[in-house]
């Protein structure tokens, strides 16, 4: 019964909707862009989410989180996507879960409570080069004395300017490691991206890393799982955005009149809208299923994550392209918010691997 939302889930969804409508939305995004804000985060909204305990939904209850699952986080992410509110919910959740699991590191133990209540912000620094890859290559962790040294560049760290701590994936002795780095110790370049959501490059030049800050040097399985979780939370956000761009378009089709009738009465446009509706319904099913599997329901997490990202990458881009086209002239004006959905679609398409990446991965997982 993973598809039917429980009373608790419905209540989280309603709360998130209320908070996000009150403190987020495209107007905030527009302000961040016009003020060239280097952090790219809806600060007030993030504060409100923290105050309501929505930041630590899937973090351990004993440490101050809510002890719920990623499915619940996904419902909030959908709302962020719907309103295009830049907030590091997915990035923080996944990074914090990696830290919280590390009882062996005193640094991790010390950080965990502040990550659970959101007083400190973490993000996962993984992407290198111009395309997502499953394993780190460019950033390497090597032994130096009793500790380690970190070298190389991360090309696209979501909310990398706003975070307090980075969980950095690094190549290490033929495998992968995960390393905790305080933001102030990395060279950070904030990026001004089309979607006005926070993003940064991070450079490490022989950065000294204490043994205690190395979460694991045998990270392959754990990193794989974290990437799948981050991917699924991203698809939840994309789902929210795609539905909203679609909803606005259907609304416009009903109101805009040309040739004496609403343009929504033109059959060619109706059919395009109805196709998108089916596409979105199928998208919702795969995203929700993926998050349920991440929370322990039967199924392969990796397969579902790739299935969801392959679909949502295509769907979000397609729906926003159609939305702009169906809005006609006003669709391409900056005055309308629609362009922001299109831009965010393009960024999320690339993040964590595009549709082709995930179709290839899905086929490999299924042995062909």
């Amino acid at each position: 019964m993973g598809f039917v939302l429980s009373e608790e889930e419905l209540s989280i969804q309603a709360t998130a909707r209320r908070v996000v409508d009150a403190h987020g939305g495209p107007a905030v995004l527009r302000r961040l862009r016009d003020e060239r804000d280097p952090l790219g985060i809806a600060g007030e909204l993030w504060g409100a989410l923290r105050a309501l305990g929505l930041v630590g939904l899937a973090l351990p209850e004993a440490e101050g989180g809510a002890g719920l699952g990623l499915k619940e986080v996904g419902l909030v992410a959908e709302e962020l996507g719907r309103t295009l509110s830049p907030a590091p919910l997915g990035a923080h959740t996944v990074a914090a879960r990696l830290v919280a699991r590390r009882a062996g590191s005193s640094l991790a133990r010390e950080l965990t409570p502040s990550l659970c209540d959101g007083s400190r912000l973490a993000t996962l620094a993984h992407e290198e080069g111009v395309r997502h890859e499953a394993r780190p290559r460019a950033v390497t962790l090597s032994r130096r004395g009793s500790g380690y040294a970190l070298d190389g560049d991360k090309s696209f760290v979501p909310f990398g300017g706003a975070a307090d701590w980075l969980v950095v994936s690094a190549a290490h002795e033929g495998g992968a490691a995960l390393v905790l780095v305080e933001l102030a110790r990395a060279e950070i370049m904030s990026l001004c991206t089309i979607d006005s959501h926070g993003a940064a490059r991070a450079r490490f030049r022989g950065l000294e890393v204490a043994a205690d800050a190395v979460l694991t040097t045998d990270a392959e399985a754990e990193l794989g799982r974290a990437l799948d979780e981050a991917t699924l939370l991203l698809t939840a956000e994309m789902l929210g955005g795609a539905w909203e761009a679609f909803r606005r378009t259907v609304e416009y089709l009903k109101q805009r009149r040309q040739f004496g009738v609403p343009i929504g009465s033109f059959q060619a446009l109706k059919h395009r809208a109805a196709s998108m509706y089916c596409d979105l319904e199928l998208s919702r099913a795969v995203v929700r299923e993926g998050l349920s599997v991440a929370d322990g329901a039967q199924g392969s997490l990796a397969e579902l994550a790739s299935a969801a990202k392959a679909r949502l990458s295509d769907t979000y881009v397609h729906v926003t392209n159609e939305a702009v086209q169906l809005h006609g002239g006003v669709g391409v004006t900056d005055e309308l918010d629609l362009g922001f959905f299109m831009k965010r679609a393009r960024v999320t398409e690339q993040l964590m691997g595009d549709a082709a990446f995930h179709r290839d991965r899905y086929a490999r997982l299924l042995g062909y």
């Binding site: 039917v4 259907v250 009465s265 109706k270 059919h271 109805a274 509706y277 319904e281 099913a285 086929a363």
Partner: protein, 396 residues
């Protein structure tokens, strides 16, 4: 729950003793039982199984016992379905009479009609076919022009129906006819039951692009139909016809799904033709990507179907999903079957005769047959119209 547990235990014991072992295997081609006066049972066991099922009304478990139904509660019927599945029992009978006409008679028929027709339907003694489509009335079903003119206590029916499945094997037809040509098109239609043995009926099978088919054209010339074989009021048949159609649509999308999930994966089929070890990526990158796309669409559709089922079971049906699943299901199915042919390359181009494996010829015929899936039972275009109107609320 103990009462239901008792029911389950008793039922299982009964099934084990009454369902012949040969009826607890999946039916092969042509081994399904559709009943009717001219029914040829595929085996003596099949006949025995139907007779046994009839003693408990298993073919129509929730219908009243007075007509031969099982008289079960919804819960009991669910238990029956579970037990039949658990034991691998074949359905004793497949029947348009049960799936489509029965609900109509129970809702709109007179008591006399129920007594006259339901027992034969339930026991599989009469086989029914559907007389809806006409050459000039496809998507625009209501524009049908087969006339029924009142003559005393009979109608005299003239016209032509098409796409009638198994009209050549059916005993009776439920049929939409025009009883009032001057009324607006939806208001002059009646729902009548016609004995296929009536004088003036000619049936001609339809050949499809895939070869022989169960479809027929049915011609009516001065066919006399007693007025008491009309269901519902005169000129009020359109609503009844639509009620019946809603059953057809959900049947199509669900059967598609069930059918494809047991097939050999496309990738495995492709590997048979291009070689390479399992686990390695298929060599033809473009074919591989097309396979993945279809596999993923199929997966997402399956999940959406499950979601709809769960929501419905939880008492929150979204409604209007039948159109979406009909649309998406048939379109994905078409692409899947196209791909099955494409991955066979030259081996997918055979029509008949030597040089091709049976599997290859079947695959090719099924691809051609699948082209009709997005047309029959409401075309994809009609489903898109319905979605735009009912779900999205777009104006006419």
């Amino acid at each position: 729950m103990s009462e239901l547990d008792d029911f389950r235990a008793e039922l299982r014991a009964w099934l084990l003793s009454h369902c012949p072992p040969s009826m607890r295997t999946p039916p092969g081609d042509g081994e399904e039982v559709w009943g009717g006066r001219r029914c040829v049972f595929p085996s003596e066991d099949a006949r025995r199984w139907l007779l046994a099922a009839n003693t408990r009304g298993l073919t129509a478990p929730t219908w009243p016992t007075e007509y031969g139904g099982g008289g079960m509660s919804r819960e009991q019927a669910a238990v029956l379905a579970e037990e039949l599945r658990a034991l691998g029992c074949r359905p004793p009978l497949r029947s348009l009479g049960i799936w489509m006409l029965g609900p109509v008679l129970l809702r709109y028929g007179t008591e006399a009609q129920r007594r006259a027709f339901l027992p034969g339907i339930i026991r599989g003694e009469t086989r029914w076919c559907q007389g809806y489509s006409e050459p000039g009335a496809g998507s625009d079903l209501a524009s049908l022009s087969t006339r029924a003119v009142r003559d005393g206590d009979h109608y005299v029916v003239d016209g032509q129906k098409t796409w009638t499945s198994h009209a050549d094997k059916a005993d009776w037809m439920f049929c939409l006819v025009r009883t009032n040509p001057s009324a607006p098109k939806h208001q002059g239609i009646s729902f009548v039951l016609i004995d296929m043995a009536s004088p003036g009926i000619t049936v001609r099978p339809i050949q499809l692009i895939s070869g022989a088919s169960p479809f027929c054209e049915t011609f009516f010339e001065g066919v006399r139909v007693p007025v008491d074989q009309r269901v519902g009021d005169e000129d009020a048949g359109w609503e009844i016809g639509k009620y019946l159609l809603s059953h057809e649509r959900s049947n199509i999308s669900l059967s598609r799904d069930a059918q494809s999930s047991v097939e050999e994966p496309l990738a495995a089929q492709a590997r048979r033709y291009e070689g390479g070890a399992p686990g390695e990526p298929l060599r033809d990158a473009s074919l591989r990507d097309r396979i993945t796309q279809v596999d993923l669409d199929f997966l997402c559709n399956k999940l959406a179907l499950r979601r709809a089922a769960e929501e419905a079971a939880a008492g929150r049906p979204a409604g209007s999903e039948a159109s979406m699943f009909k649309l998406v299901g048939t379109e994905v199915n078409k692409r899947r079957r196209e791909l099955k042919v494409a991955l066979r390359g030259f081996a997918g181009l055979g029509w008949e005769g030597e040089g091709y494996l049976d599997d290859e010829l079947t695959t090719t015929r099924e691809w051609l047959r699948s082209r009709a899936n997005s047309i029959e039972g409401g075309s994809s275009e009609v489903q898109l119209n319905i979605l735009a109107k009912r779900v999205l609320g777009l104006p006419d």
